[in-house]
């Protein structure tokens, strides 16, 4: 990786990136203070503050220079002088894409949970905290506060799952938080050791040391291997990389709809982002050495994730497994690039395609998985009403109203809903013309050039995805109308349109004009692919 010059203290007239991160937090504080606010006020306020990211993104897009590969809009202030910690923010194409994704998913997720009954104020405050933390992760360039944001995102997520989740939510929330923190602990230890050796927490600085081999020389082969594994473990749990994914299906399944959408749409990207921003640049040699094993694990996620989804009867668990499958493609591409690094006659084109595909896939999966969770949420509310006369039904291991077999014929009852859900489903299975295809095609094109065998095996994942998604579609939407869909099953209404339509429109737009996204990342990815050398 190329070393990047340290940006100016403020390279923009005002601290735009800080505003991006802290506006949602300001909203969270405001919501906590407004004790007497009605539920509607709280919801509107939350939505307004969550939209700030999208509003600021317009400014970002206006001034962002795709051709410059160094972080832009930089902010750098000394913070804790004794530890050489700087408050350092910056944004490149990768960060920008993820900021946009966060800006889109958060409001949509809030709309999907609009009708949630209990304490709208607390829900909103937690959600905004979560949004700010995620943005912090995508913008921080110094490990210290990056880690603070990283860990801080768990707290609101925990309460969102535990307080608004299904029957087994407590267990799922605990497992989710403990597992992820367990992973982070290793990462923290690794960075403490890196700091003890190098005296810096700065990502760019560490990447420079990693790229020229100084880090390995200073630490010695054994210790750096341990540190690498620690950081790897922390990130692998977060993404998650198969087989560290077992926290994910229960957590996604038990969370309320909006939280599931945010977890899969944005939080899962934090892990992949960590791989791209931290692990790959700082430990190129170690990642290269581990790549054959990691490729196997990624393929495990691609193939077994898809087939495990086929076996699920709970719809949310099924969509959760589809996330395992889709995110594994991102990691597969990165690992393939790392695997081939240093090979004589390596084609930069393949690496460019693979890495572009990874970033597109992150964005596209965010859209399609969030839309699928929104659809399952809509099915759930309809089924609950039919079964329990308006009161939500606790879900869990026993008889679940969200079972694949309880629905049927929904398409006849709610054709518009079926249409939008169908588009989300086909986007998820990578139908050309919709957004998912471009990313997957580039990943396959890249991975084939770097490791043909892995691409061939990964094809099975595409088949598995089609199998379980079409099974889902056939059972739920086709056939005669079954119990859960038999009573009054209305088509989409007001807010539900607002939650689904923007996502579906984006699927079309990005499917036809991927240039809108590739424009932002292409120079950056080309620069990455141009510097594929081992120290």
């Amino acid at each position: 990786m190329k070393s990047e010059s340290i940006p100016l203290v403020f390279s923009f007239p005002f601290p735009l990136l800080s505003l991006l991160i802290f506006t949602p937090w300001a909203g969270a504080v405001l919501l906590t203070l407004l004790r007497g606010a009605s539920a509607l006020t709280a919801r509107v306020l939350t939505l307004a503050f969550s939209l700030s990211t999208l509003a600021f993104s317009v400014l970002l897009l206006d001034s962002f220079d795709p051709a410059a590969t160094a972080p832009q809009f930089g902010e750098r202030q000394p913070w804790i002088a004794a530890l050489n910690v700087h408050y350092h923010l910056g944004l490149d194409g990768l960060s920008l894409v993820l900021v946009l994704l966060t800006g889109i998913i958060t409001p949509v997720a809030l709309l999907a949970s609009w009708r949630l009954e209990r304490s709208a104020r607390l829900f909103g405050a937690l959600f905004l905290t979560l949004q700010g933390a995620a943005l912090g992760v995508f913008l921080a360039l110094d490990f210290f506060h990056w880690f603070v944001f990283w860990e801080l995102s768990l707290v609101p997520a925990f309460f969102l799952i535990k307080l608004w989740g299904g029957r087994d939510a407590t267990r799922a929330a605990y497992q989710f938080v403990i597992y992820t923190i367990g992973g982070s602990a290793f990462m923290l230890f690794g960075f403490a050791a890196l700091f003890a050796t190098t005296g810096t927490f700065d990502f760019n600085e560490l990447a420079r040391l990693g790229a020229d081999g100084t880090l390995a020389a200073k630490l010695g082969a054994g210790p750096i291997q341990f540190i690498f594994l620690g950081v790897l473990f922390g990130l692998a749990v977060k993404v998650p990389l198969w087989p560290f994914h077992t926290w994910l299906p229960p957590a996604y399944a038990e969370a309320p709809t909006g939280a599931s959408m945010f977890l899969t749409g944005v939080m899962s990207k934090m892990g992949v982002y960590g791989f791209l921003r931290i692990l790959w640049p700082i430990f190129p040699q170690q990642l290269h050495a581990a790549a054959p094993w990691l490729l196997t694990l990624a393929l495990g996620g691609v193939v077994l994730g898809a087939w495990a989804a086929l076996r699920q009867t709970d719809l949310k668990r099924m969509v959760a497994y589809s996330s395992v499958n889709h995110l594994s493609y991102c990691l597969l591409a990165l690992f393939a690039v790392s695997y081939a690094t240093g090979r004589a006659g390596l084609s930069g084109e393949a690496a460019t395609a693979a890495l572009s595909g990874t970033i597109l896939q992150m964005f596209n999966h965010g859209l399609s998985a969030a839309a699928l969770f929104a659809c399952v949420g809509i099915l759930q509310t309809r089924a609950d009403k039919n079964n329990m006369g308006g009161t939500p039904m606790p879900r869990g291991t026993g008889v679940s109203p969200l079972g694949l077999k309880d629905f049927g014929g929904v398409r006849a009852a709610a054709p518009i809903f079926a249409g939008l859900c169908g588009i989300a489903m086909f986007s998820s299975l990578g139908l050309p013309g919709l957004n998912g295809f471009v990313g997957e095609f580039l990943i396959f094109r890249g991975v084939f050039g770097l490791h043909p065998g892995a691409a061939a095996v990964a094809c099975l994942g595409l088949l598995g995805t089609a199998l379980f998604l079409l099974t889902f579609w056939q059972r739920v939407f086709h056939g005669p109308r079954a119990e859960a869909a038999a009573g009054e099953f209305s088509d989409l209404r007001g807010v539900e349109y607002a939650a689904l339509v923007p996502l579906v429109l984006l699927m079309f737009v990005l499917g036809v004009a991927p240039q809108l996204l590739t424009r932002l990342i292409n120079p950056l990815v080309t620069a990455w692919a141009g510097h594929l050398v081992l120290p």
Partner: protein
């Protein structure tokens, strides 16, 4: 008035626009939906004719218009349009046949509540199919290819409340997707090897000599691309979805799957023909020959009029693949065009019969329709003779002859020729059986007895197609092979010996004669009576009637494998990985308990004693000192120091 290549995109764009209008139009407005769809496709037909004029001006030329889709690395991913006689002729066929289907559908689906959606899906299908034809990039072709799959999924499952239709739609999508994965791999392989996916690009396209020479011939790429064609064109062993696809609205969806969509695979192989190595061609020829024979064999023992035609389609597609395999892609396209007309005619005829006979599709229940349905009978008979290859007048004879002659001239093996000749007898035989059962004898059910001829919206398309089913053959006779030379000016057309032609005429006569001898001379009296063949060879007939048990075989192998893999993946998660997580959490709990016990017993006990002593001493100190030690903070600082030391001693220098 020609259409230049820059504006070629209009041909698929018009139906796409119609689909878009259809999707947002109110459901009640039926004429708007069908009217826009028909008007758009009619315009596309005219544009296609214009495109043909342009292409004929210089048949050897491949006019292209390429553009960047999105930037990637230092270059861009590029797509493009391509105009040559192959594109133009295929566009004319699809728009013409499609237009007749659209018109036929306005009559056929008049009573359906989702009339509007049907035309929306039809337009989407037409747009995707036309996009596939004009693509100058394997990537764009693949994109449209998948959209064709989507449209066919929606159309097969149009009556989705029927579980059989929903299952058939899924089966079609999954089965073709298996083939598509091969196509995808072949495509990325080609991309990786050549750096381009454009067919023609001013000397740098993958079908152009310099790139082909640099590629040095890759059998694997060709065969992987062929996998896609196997899936889409219903070749053995992925043919199983095609007969099930007949669950779609009769006969319109069936027609799409029989006349146009399935031709996409043959078109693909004709398009990428320069990429295919002799080894790949051998595989293609054998696959085609096996499919041709297998489809004809199974068709002999089917009783559903649509299924007979579906297996006949499988068989005829086999012939086309055979032609490509033996190196004569122009003959394959010739047969594709004639087949599109006469098979469309047969399917619409079958639709006419089914519509008139109140959705009775079992040929044993029909019979005697020759009298009440004269137009349908006459046109169906023309289609039947074209398909059977009745000599000289009918188009099917000439295109099939061309394929057999090409197979005869193939220097690798004569096996495809023999398999093809065997299928000729069977084709004539099963079509005679179909005719005899449906149109001759006496009506064997009330539905057949009350059948009336259909209105002109349905019979006029039949007449038009019948004209084509005859006339089209004269474009490619060995005496004036205009079509072959237009498609490929360098094509070598086998003038062929009269010997082979005589053999195949004799074989057709044999098939017709034996069919008539068994089914026509003494026609079936009761619908429950056993089939004459089933009486003579019950086990063979049952095996063929069960479609050679392919579905059972796949269910027992791939179905089980699929299920097993799902169970395995799920069990792995639930027991092994989650078990490991549970183990660690138990371990944590255990450590906690041990910790508490030691804390309570040993440490706290000792701590209490120490603190008691401290307190006593502190009490005495407190007179002298005012502050208190912040023990907790001290411990934290101490801990960090220990950590840093551990790291420094452990590894860092």
């Amino acid at each position: 008035m020609g259409l230049s290549v820059q504006f070629l995109w209009l041909i698929p764009a018009l139906p796409l626009l119609a689909a878009g209008i259809g999707s947002i139009a109110p459901s009640r407005d039926r004429t708007l939906a069908s009217g826009t769809a028909i008007a758009a496709l009619a315009l596309s037909f005219l544009l296609s004719c214009g495109a043909l004029l342009t292409a004929l001006a210089n048949p050897a030329d491949h006019a292209t218009h390429n553009f960047a889709w999105f930037e990637l690395g230092h270059g861009a991913v590029r797509l493009g349009w391509l105009l040559d006689p192959l594109t133009a002729l295929m566009c004319i066929m699809v728009t013409f046949v499609g237009l007749l289907i659209f018109i036929f559908s306005t009559g056929y689906l008049r009573a359906d509540a989702r009339f509007k959606q049907f035309f929306c899906f039809l337009s989407l299908f037409a747009a995707a199919m036309l996009g596939l034809l004009i693509a100058n990039s394997l990537l764009l072709l693949f994109i449209c290819w998948e959209l064709v799959g989507l449209a066919s999924y929606l159309l097969i499952g149009f009556w989705f409340h029927k579980p059989a239709a929903a299952a058939a739609a899924k089966k079609a999508f999954i089965t073709t997707r298996i083939g598509d994965l091969g196509l995808l791999l072949g495509m990325v392989w080609l991309y990786d090897s050549t750096g381009s996916l454009l067919f023609y690009d001013g000397g740098n396209g993958v079908l152009e000599p310099s790139v082909l020479a640099a590629l040095g011939g890759s059998t694997a790429i060709g065969l992987l691309i062929f996998c896609g064609a196997v899936g889409k064109s219903g070749q053995f062993p992925l043919h199983v979805w095609l007969p099930d696809a007949m669950e779609g609205p009769t006969p319109v969806s069936a027609l799409i799957h029989a006349a146009t969509m399935v031709a996409a695979g043959v078109f693909l192989m004709a398009r990428v023909f320069p990429l295919l190595t002799p080894d790949a061609l051998t595989v293609i020829a054998l696959t085609g020959a096996i499919t041709a024979l297998m489809g004809a064999l199974i068709a002999v023992a089917q009783n559903d009029i649509k299924r007979i035609l579906a297996f006949s389609t499988v068989s005829q597609l086999g012939y086309m693949m055979l032609a490509i395999g033996v190196g004569s892609w122009t003959t394959a396209i010739f047969h594709l065009l004639t087949h599109a007309c006469f098979k469309a005619l047969l399917f619409l005829g079958a639709g006419s019969v089914i519509h008139a006979a109140h959705h009775e599709q079992d040929i044993r229940q029909l019979g005697g329709l020759r009298g009440p349905m004269k137009t349908t009978f006459a046109t169906f008979a023309i289609g039947m003779m074209a398909l059977s290859g009745v000599p000289f007048i009918f188009s099917g004879f000439w295109s099939k002859e061309a394929i057999l002659h090409a197979a005869h001239a193939w220097d690798v093996s004569q096996l495809p020729l023999y398999l093809g000749l065997a299928a000729v007898v069977l084709t004539a035989f099963y079509m005679t059986r179909l005719m005899a059962e449906v149109f001759f004898g006496a009506a064997r059910s009330d539905a057949a007895g009350h059948a009336q001829e259909n209105p002109p919206t349905m019979t006029v398309p039949l007449g038009l197609l019948a004209v084509c089913a005859v006339g089209l053959g004269f474009l490619g006779t060995p005496y004036w092979p205009w079509l072959q030379h237009t498609l490929d000016p360098l094509a070598h057309v086998e003038a062929g010996g009269y010997g082979l032609m005589m053999v195949s005429i004799v074989l057709v006569a044999l098939g017709l004669g034996s069919g008539w001898a068994i089914y026509g001379r003494k026609s079936r009296v009761k619908s429950s009576a056993a089939d004459p063949l089933a009486v003579r060879a019950p086990s063979v007939f049952a095996f063929l009637a069960a479609r050679m048990k392919f579905d059972e075989l796949y269910a027992a192998t791939f179905g089980r494998l699929n299920h097993g893999l799902a169970v395995f993946a799920d069990a792995l998660d639930r027991h092994l990985w989650d078990g490991a997580v549970r183990f660690f959490s138990r371990l944590g709990e255990f450590a906690g308990v041990v910790n508490r016990e030691t804390d309570e017993g040993a440490l706290n006990g000792g701590f209490d004693a120490t603190s008691e002593g401290l307190r006593k001493r502190a009490h005495s100190y407190s007179r002298a000192q005012t502050g208190d030690a912040h023990g907790y903070l001290l411990m934290v600082a101490f801990g960090f120091v220990v950590l840093v030391f551990a790291v420094l001693l452990g590894g860092a220098r």
